[in-house]
C-alpha cells in the first residue's frame, strides 16, 4: 500500500514543524504550501489524498482556496481554524470541507480526523457506500434493508423522520453534518427550522443513547451540527 499524500497548507513554520513530526511518524507523505495560490497549484500538480487547510493564510482567505479547489476536485479537505467562530465553521462545511479542527488541537484528535476522512474517501471510491446493507458502531446497529435500528441487540422504534436522520448521520459517520445540511436532506430545500432538527435529535437521543445526557453515538457540535461516531474509542 502506498503512503497517503497529505498537503499541509500552513504559513506558520512552528506548526508545520510539529505536523511534520507527527504525520511522518504515522507514515504519511507530506507536501507543504505556505500560500493559497501555492496550495491550488500543488493540488493540481500533485493530486494529494487529503488537504489540511489553515484558514488564516497570508495571501487569500482560506475559504476562497477551499472554493477554488472544490470547483474541480473532491479531495477530502480538513479545515484548520484558529477562530472559534461557529458561523465560519458552518460556512466552510457548507462550502465542501469534510471536517474542521480548531486550534489548539490535540495530535490524536487531528490524526483521528485524518483517518476518518481517508477511510471515507476510500469507501466512496470503492462504491462501498451503495452496497453497504448495514452499519454498526459500538452497540448501535442499523439494518438499511430491513429499516431496523437496534441498540445492544434490542430493537428501537423510530419515527420515519428519526430513522431518516439516523441513516443520514450513519452514512456520513465521523463527519459533522450542519443543521442546514440535515434539514435539506430530510425536509427538502424549503424548510429552515433548526429547532425541528433539535427536537427530533432529542427524541432520537432518548431512544438510542444509554444516557441521553451523555451521548455516545451522536455527538453535538454546538452551533454547527451533529456527528455520528464511526468507531468506539
Amino acid at each position: 500500500m502506498t503512503k497517503a499524500k497529505i498537503l499541509v497548507v500552513e504559513d506558520e513554520r512552528v506548526i508545520r514543524n510539529f505536523l511534520d513530526a507527527i504525520l511522518t511518524a504515522h507514515d504519511y507523505q507530506i507536501l507543504y504550501a505556505t500560500t493559497g495560490k501555492e496550495a491550488v497549484t500543488i493540488t493540481a500538480s500533485h493530486i494529494p489524498d487529503l488537504i489540511l487547510l489553515d484558514l488564516g493564510l497570508p495571501d487569500v482567505d482560506g475559504e476562497l482556496v477551499l472554493q477554488k479547489i472544490r470547483e474541480w476536485s473532491d479531495v477530502p479537505i480538513i479545515v484548520v481554524s484558529a477562530r472559534q467562530d461557529e458561523a465560519q465553521k458552518v460556512s466552510c462545511l457548507d462550502a465542501g470541507a469534510d471536517d474542521y479542527v480548531t486550534k489548539p488541537f490535540g495530535n490524536s484528535e487531528l490524526l483521528a480526523r485524518i483517518r476518518t476522512s481517508l477511510r471515507r474517501r476510500a469507501m466512496i471510491q470503492d462504491n462501498r457506500f451503495l452496497q453497504a446493507s448495514s452499519f454498526a458502531v459500538g452497540g448501535l446497529t442499523i439494518d438499511y434493508a430491513k429499516r431496523q435500528v437496534a441498540v445492544d441487540g434490542a430493537a428501537v422504534h423510530l419515527t420515519p423522520i428519526e430513522y431518516k436522520i439516523v441513516v443520514l448521520l450513519s452514512k456520513n459517520a465521523g463527519m459533522v453534518l450542519t443543521y442546514d445540511c440535515i434539514i435539506r436532506e430530510i425536509w427538502g430545500p424549503f424548510a429552515s427550522d433548526n429547532q425541528l432538527v433539535r427536537v427530533n435529535m432529542a427524541n432520537i437521543r432518548r431512544k438510542i443513547e444509554p444516557n441521553p445526557a451523555d451521548p455516545r453515538y451522536i455527538l453535538t457540535e454546538v452551533g454547527v451540527g451533529y456527528r455520528m461516531i464511526d468507531c468506539v474509542k
Binding site: E109, T159, L196, A202, A213
Partner: protein, 527 residues
C-alpha cells in the same frame, strides 16, 4: 403677528366689590369733595379771600377727585360741577349763573387738569399693579426653577412644567418630548387628559407641532386659524421638545405669552443640563468599565508571565543540557504541556469575554438545546482530564434556552474544571439540568474540599495572584468564576456557589427560558 389682547392681569382693588357699589362709593367721594370745596370756599369768601385763591381751591378739588377715582368720568363730572358751582357761588353775581367770558375758560382749564391728572393716575396705578404682578411671576419662576433643578429625569420636568403652565394660564397643555410626527403615546404629556386631547391630537395639529419641532421656531403662518399655540423648547440649537397651549376659544393673553416664553427657556435649560449630566454619567460609567478592563488585562498579563517563564526555562533546559537523564527530560516536557494547557484555558476565557459586547453587555442569543451544550462541555473536559468521573442528569423534556452557546459552554467548562481541581482524582462530579419555573437551572456538584472561607465573600470577583503570592497553575480560582458571572449576567441569569452540608461545593446558574411552555418537547416529533 397676532394682536394680543391686553388683559387686565393685575389685581384691581376696586374690582373686588360689585360694580354698582364701587360706582356709588366713587360718586359719594366725588360729591363729598365737591361739597366740602363749596362750603370751604363760601367760608373763605366771607373772610374776604381773593377770587383767584378760591379758583385755585376749586381746581385742587377737581384734581383730587381725578386722583382718587379710577375713571375719567368722575373727573369730568367733577370739572363740570365745579365750573358751574364756581360760576354760581363765587363769581359775580352770586347765587346766580352769569356765564361770562370767564366760564368757558374755567371749564376748559378744569377739563384739561382732570384729563392730565386722570391719565397720570390711571397709568401710575397700572404700573404699580404690573410691578406687583411681575414680582409674583418672578417668584413663581424662581419657584419653578428650583423645582426644575431638583427634578431628576425628563419625565419629572415635563410633568412639572405642564402642571405649572396649566395652573397659571388655566388652559390644557401638551408637552411633546419627541418628534410629534407619527409619535406614540410615550412622546407627549397632556394635562386634563381626556376632554382636551381632541384639540391636540388631530392630524393638522400634529403636523404643525412637527414643523415647530423641526424648525425650532413657532409657526407664524397658521397662527390665526390655529387652535393651539406652540413653543419650541430650544437651547443652543437643540430642540428638546414642543409645548402646545390650547387657544381655541380665546387667544393667549400677552402676559401669559411672555410667561410661557420665559418658562420655555427655563425648561430648555433644565433639560439641557439634565442631558449633559446624563452624558457625564455615561462617560463616568464607561471610564469605570475601561478601568476594570485594564485591571483585568494587567492581572492577566501578570499571571501569564509565570507560565511563559516556565515554558521558556524548561525548553531551554532540554535544548542545552544534552546529558540530562531521560526521566528529567520527560518531566520537563510534561511541565511544558501542562503549563501550555493552562495557558490555552486562560486564553479561551479571555476570548469569551471579548465576545460579550463591550458597551451594553449583550450577547447574541440563539435557541440551543441545554442538554447538547452540557454534553459538549463534558466531552471537552473529559478530553482534558481523562481520569475524571462526570455524571450528567437531564430532565425528560428538551429545554431550549436562548443563549450564546460558546459562552455558556465556557461557563460549564470553567465550573467543571473548578470542581475537578478541587476534588480528589477520580471523584464523582455531578451535572444536573432542571426546569425551575421559567428558568433552566444548571448545577455542578462536586465532592471535594469545598469553597474556602476567605473566598466565600467575593467568590465571583477576580482573584489575581498578587505580587506576593506564587502562581499555582493547577488552581482553578482565577478569572474563571468572574467570567462565569459576567457571562451568566449578560444572559439575564444568575449564578451562585455554596458549600454543601455533605461536603463539597455546589455551583448553580439559571438562564431564562424563551417563553413559558416554549421549551417543551412535543408528544409527536414533526413528521
Amino acid at each position: 403677528m397676532k394682536q394680543y389682547v391686553r388683559e387686565k392681569m393685575y389685581a384691581d382693588p376696586w374690582e373686588d366689590s360689585p360694580k354698582w357699589r364701587s360706582t356709588l362709593i366713587h360718586t359719594a367721594k366725588m360729591c363729598g369733595i365737591i361739597l366740602f370745596t363749596i362750603v370751604f370756599t363760601e367760608l373763605l369768601r366771607h373772610a374776604q379771600v381773593g377770587l383767584q385763591s378760591l379758583l385755585m381751591i376749586y381746581l385742587l378739588s377737581v384734581q383730587i377727585v381725578s386722583f382718587v377715582t379710577p375713571k375719567y368720568v368722575y373727573g369730568i363730572l367733577a370739572a363740570l360741577i365745579c365750573t358751574f358751582s364756581f360760576d354760581f357761588f363765587v363769581s359775580e353775581p352770586q347765587l346766580a349763573f352769569s356765564f361770562t367770558i370767564g366760564f368757558p375758560i374755567t371749564l376748559f382749564t378744569m377739563l384739561v387738569v382732570t384729563f392730565i391728572t386722570s391719565t397720570l393716575t390711571v397709568q401710575l396705578r397700572y404700573q404699580a399693579a404690573l410691578a406687583v404682578e411681575r414680582e409674583r411671576r418672578a417668584e413663581l419662576l424662581a419657584e419653578i426653577n428650583q423645582a426644575l433643578l431638583a427634578a431628576r429625569d425628563v419625565d419629572a420636568i415635563v410633568r412639572l412644567v405642564s402642571g405649572y403652565l396649566a395652573a397659571q394660564i388655566g388652559r390644557p397643555v401638551i408637552f411633546y418630548t419627541k418628534d410629534p410626527k407619527n409619535c406614540g403615546r410615550d412622546a407627549y404629556v397632556l394635562t386634563r387628559d381626556d376632554e382636551s386631547a381632541g384639540v391636540f391630537l388631530t392630524e393638522t395639529e400634529k403636523k404643525r407641532a412637527h414643523r415647530v419641532y423641526k424648525s425650532g421656531i413657532p409657526d407664524a403662518l397658521d397662527e390665526f386659524d390655529s387652535d393651539v399655540h406652540y413653543e419650541a423648547v430650544v437651547s443652543r440649537g437643540t430642540v428638546f421638545g414642543v409645548i402646545g397651549i390650547e387657544c381655541k376659544a380665546k387667544p393667549l393673553a400677552f402676559t401669559s405669552l411672555i410667561f410661557l416664553q420665559v418658562l420655555v427657556k427655563q425648561v430648555a435649560m433644565a433639560l439641557e443640563l439634565l442631558y449633559l449630566s446624563d452624558e457625564k454619567n455615561n462617560l463616568k460609567i464607561s471610564a469605570e468599565k475601561e478601568k476594570m478592563r485594564s485591571n483585568l488585562l494587567r492581572s492577566i498579563s501578570h499571571d501569564l508571565r509565570t507560565p511563559l517563564t516556565s515554558i521558556l526555562g524548561a525548553s531551554a533546559a532540554i535544548l542545552e543540557e544534552r546529558d540530562m537523564p531521560e526521566e528529567m527530560r520527560y518531566n520537563l516536557v510534561t511541565d511544558i504541556q501542562e503549563t501550555t494547557q493552562w495557558l490555552i484555558r486562560m486564553v479561551e476565557n479571555i476570548l469569551t469575554v471579548t465576545r460579550i459586547s463591550k458597551e451594553v453587555m449583550e450577547v447574541h442569543k440563539t435557541l440551543e438545546a441545554a442538554e447538547e451544550l452540557i454534553s459538549q462541555a463534558v466531552s471537552i473536559v473529559r478530553a482534558r482530564f481523562p481520569q475524571c468521573h462526570i455524571h450528567v442528569r437531564i430532565p425528560d423534556e428538551l429545554l431550549l434556552v436562548p443563549m450564546d452557546g460558546t459562552l455558556i459552554s465556557q461557563v460549564l467548562i470553567n465550573l467543571l474544571e473548578n470542581a475537578i481541581k478541587n476534588s480528589e482524582e477520580g471523584a464523582l462530579v455531578l451535572v444536573n439540568l432542571k426546569k425551575q419555573d421559567d428558568y433552566a437551572r444548571f448545577e455542578v456538584i462536586d465532592h471535594g474540599s469545598g469553597i474556602s472561607a476567605h473566598l466565600m465573600d467575593n467568590l465571583f470577583e477576580i482573584h489575581t495572584q498578587g505580587e506576593d503570592a506564587t502562581i499555582d497553575v493547577s488552581s482553578g480560582i482565577g478569572i474563571g468564576l468572574s467570567i462565569c458571572q459576567t457571562i451568566v449576567q449578560a444572559h439575564g441569569g444568575s449564578i451562585e456557589g455554596h458549600n454543601r452540608e455533605e461536603g463539597g461545593a455546589k455551583f448553580s446558574f439559571m438562564l431564562p427560558l424563551a417563553e413559558a411552555g416554549d421549551g417543551m418537547i412535543p408528544d409527536e416529533a414533526h413528521d
